[in-house]
């Protein structure tokens, strides 16, 4: 799909949201992930297909707006508040400790450290 858009002339072709860590999954919705090297092999197919255009990836950490229906980790949030995922669960988020916040920063950095053309940080969630 991305390859067809590049062929159609779009100068920049971006992915959809791309999770930086398994503690943020938006299951059952299929989304990109950059959790480990295995993901790189799969995303490489997109960047190769986009060729001459620029390929963008929207790295993302969902927090309270994900229910982690695959990984089953209580979602992180600034405070413990009801989950707001589209297909959610009657559960609340886990208030983050300062150590958790440090980890989150590291996860973003790790995802950004993976091979890239362009990184878009998603601030909407």
């Amino acid at each position: 799909m991305h390859g067809v858009k590049a062929e159609g002339g779009w100068g920049v072709v971006c992915t959809e949201y791309c999770s930086v860590h398994p503690s943020s999954d938006d299951h059952p919705f299929p989304h990109e992930s950059l959790w480990d090297e295995g993901d790189i092999k799969n995303l490489r197919l997109i960047t190769d297909a986009v060729h001459e255009s620029l390929a963008g990836v929207e790295i993302w950490y969902g927090g309270r707006s994900t229910a982690n229906l695959y990984g089953r980790k209580a979602s992180f949030g600034p405070s413990s508040l009801p989950n707001t995922a589209l297909v959610g669960m009657p559960v609340q988020s886990q208030a983050m400790s300062p150590a958790d916040i440090c980890e989150l920063e590291i996860w973003y950095q790790a995802a950004e450290g993976l091979p890239r053309d362009r990184v878009v940080v998603n601030m909407s969630s």
Partner: protein, 684 residues
């Protein structure tokens, strides 16, 4: 230990057509949302059941053709040869333990929106499909009917090739073309497949005959039929069409698998069908009309009830879906005379909810359900302790009990301290409310297990302070002190406190649990949307009070659509005389009066007088103890908040979190690293 001879009948082999089951424990087809999307997890899920002693282990629904597929759900798929390998893994896994593998072949028709294949669904007559999809099904031609027969035969042959012993022909749950043909609601044909019941049964008869002819030499052919739709004259009824259909086809299949329809009736929660064997009144007649073996369901967890079903001639094989999820080792435990070790299903349908939201199965009682492959968790085995260290678990609710029990099984010296005089936490409290009695099973199983673990010391009526814990010199501390319902109205709709709540006397579910009696006119504001608001409304009506339930959602207890309870709850509340105002939010509260507004048109407001107001909105972690210990965390090897104290959620989430903490204690696993495997395509 060995089993009581009175249960011997459950372990008698039984011939089913050309195959023989080793015992009477039969895991009927049930979905788990693993399926073709997560094939390795699917295999392990079924393998564990065979290991646990189920004589027959079936798949979930298996699609037989792309013109009836149920994307985005992950059920089974057997479209062509390429689908065989994962099925072969499953049959091999089941055969490893001498069990039979069954497959439920399905042509979904009106139940299959074909979101992936984009083929227009087919139906006996042109009509709307299930759900609110804005598409309709086209009427089947005679050629289509011929094709569907062929597709069933082809799939049956593929199933035989994949190693299945029992092949299903399916007319249940309103999810199959064959049931659609049986129902005049969908079948308005005027040819030989419509009109009289004989005509409406014709396609089922043809397919049963063709499948038997194709694979009947090696495979038993099972007929799964919903004999009653529980809709009175507006549906199939056991005493009318149900009886007639069984009579017409009596000796044709090798096995009858009978139940009620739809899924919400077959898998009714304990809140609405509290008794084991609740389907008996609909299905008991079947055995009087056929000489073939009969399997039925009824959320059986008691060995005595199972024996009674067979001895009284209700059924030959004890069918189970949910009880096999809560305890995959149920048969083995009966066989080994370990009835007290059975984890009984509580009938909450969190398993169903996971399928509804297309997420891997989970279970309140069995935290390893769905994790067999993903985390390599076994329901009965856990790794030995890594040291001789002592562990303190504070709080005897679902998370704390599960954690202490599993740590005890690992061999740790565990101290479990509970502030009140009884174990159970929220399940002890909620199980006192109407319809939730079975939730106490979460406590009862763990309490009895803990009592038999000499290395777990239980201290009731023992509220510990941070100072107490610092003096104990225990290096691993797990805090499971639960949560408190909020008094400020913050919830899904309200990010900030509701005006006026601080100046009037407001009750929360915690006050109801502790015995406060609402008085006079009761206003319940439900911004939680799971079961509790509706249950408290029921309790108040039973106490003879006037009850008005207000919720910002368009339905009451809206999340229970996923547990297949929502319609039943709304009907019950209305029939009890509870006033319902949906799509309204609470604007402000003053003494004796609440102002509410329509969520779509905020200027539409009304005043509701009350004597008691109960807010069911959201919860605050009761983590004072954890927070008080955090500054001293360097004195501990482990300091962790678990369950509702970490993140308030479902009972299932709390049990799971307690289990996870017990597994991970002193393991090499870094809390922040991925703890599970995922199934993804390897693209090189």
């Amino acid at each position: 230990m060995s089993r009581d001879p009175k249960y011997d009948i459950l372990f008698e082999p039984l011939q089913i057509g050309p195959v023989t089951t080793k015992n009477r424990f039969y895991q009927v087809p049930h979905c788990n949302s693993l399926g073709h999307g997560r094939p390795l997890a699917e295999v392990e899920n079924r393998r564990i059941k065979a290991e646990g002693g189920w004589g027959v282990v079936c798949t979930q629904e298996v699609e037989i053709h792309p013109s009836a597929e149920i994307t985005p759900s992950f059920e089974g798929r057997l479209w062509d040869e390429k689908d065989i390998p994962p099925h072969r893994l499953m049959t091999d896994a089941v055969h490893e333990f001498g069990s039979l593998a069954g497959i439920e072949l399905v042509y979904g028709a009106l139940h299959a929106p074909n979101n992936y294949s984009r083929i227009a669904p087919m139906s006996p007559s042109a009509t709307v499909i299930h759900g609110n999809y804005p598409i309709q099904a086209r009427a089947m031609t005679l050629r289509d009917i011929h094709d569907i027969r062929e597709w069933h035969v082809n799939a049956a042959k593929l199933a035989r090739k994949a190693g299945y012993d029992i092949v299903y022909v399916y007319a249940g749950h309103d999810m199959s073309i064959l049931q659609h043909f049986l129902k005049p609601h969908y079948n308005r044909r005027s040819d030989q497949y419509g009109g009289s019941l004989e005509n409406r049964v014709r396609l089922t008869r043809e397919i049963l005959t063709a499948v038997k002819e194709a694979v009947g030499d090696q495979c038993a052919v099972a007929m799964r039929l919903a004999v009653d739709e529980l809709r009175g004259e507006d549906g199939l009824r056991a005493e009318c069409e149900g009886r007639d259909i069984i009579g017409m086809l009596a000796e044709l299949p090798d096995l009858w698998d009978v139940n009620v329809s739809g899924w919400d009736n077959d898998s009714a929660t304990a809140r609405f069908e509290p008794m084991e064997g609740f389907q008996e009144k609909y299905t008991a007649f079947v055995k009087t009309l056929t000489s073939k073996p009969v399997v039925g369901v009824g959320r059986f967890t008691s060995a005595d009830a199972m024996v009674s079903q067979i001895k009284r001639g209700v059924m030959d094989l004890i069918g189970a879906a949910r009880p096999s999820i809560a305890d995959p080792f149920l048969p083995r435990k009966i066989e080994e005379g370990r009835l007290e070790d059975i984890r009984e299903c509580i009938g909450c349908n969190i398993c169903v909810a996971q399928d509804m939201i297309v997420a891997p199965i989970r279970c309140t009682q069995n935290p390893t359900q769905g994790e067999e492959w993903k985390r390599n968790w076994h329901p009965e085995n856990i790794q030995k302790a890594a040291s001789d260290d002592g562990v303190l678990v504070v709080g005897g609710g679902p998370a704390g009990m599960e954690c202490a029990m599993q740590l005890g099984k690992r061999g740790y010296a565990v101290t479990l301290a509970e502030a009140t005089k009884t174990l159970g936490g929220r399940v002890a409290l909620e199980s006192q409310l109407p319809g939730l009695a079975s939730y106490a099973r979460v406590r009862d199983y763990r309490e009895s297990q803990i009592a038999r673990l000499p290395n777990v010391q239980l201290y009731l009526d023992n509220r510990l302070s941070a100072e107490d814990i610092l003096e104990l010199e225990i290096r691993h501390i797990l805090i499971a002190t639960g949560s408190d319902w909020r008094r400020d109205g913050i919830g899904r709709r309200h990010a900030f406190s509701i005006e006026g709540v601080e100046s009037v006397s407001v009750l929360t579910p915690d006050d109801i649990f502790s015995g406060t009696k609402p008085q006079g006119r009761v206003l319940i504001y439900d911004d939680d949307h799971y079961y509790l608001g509706g249950v408290i409304a029921e309790q108040c009506r039973q106490d003879g009070l006037d009850v008005h339930l207000v919720t910002p959602d368009s339905k009451v207890s809206s999340w229970t659509e996923n547990t297949l309870e929502q319609e039943k709850i709304q009907s019950r509340l209305l029939s009890l005389g509870v006033s319902l105002t949906t799509s309204h939010e609470l604007l402000r509260v003053s003494e004796g009066s609440a102002q509410i507004a329509n969520v779509y048109l905020n200027e539409h407001q009304q005043e509701i007088p009350f004597d008691t107001i109960i807010l069911v909105t959201s919860r605050l972690p009761a983590d004072d103890l954890y927070q008080a210990l955090l500054p001293h965390q360097n004195r501990f090897k482990t300091l962790l908040a678990i369950g509702d104290c970490n993140a308030p959620g479902t009972i299932a989430a709390a049990v799971y979190d307690g289990h996870l903490a017990a597994r991970n204690l002193e393991s090499e696993v870094d809390f922040y690293e991925p703890l599970f495997r995922r199934e993804m395509p390897d693209l090189g």
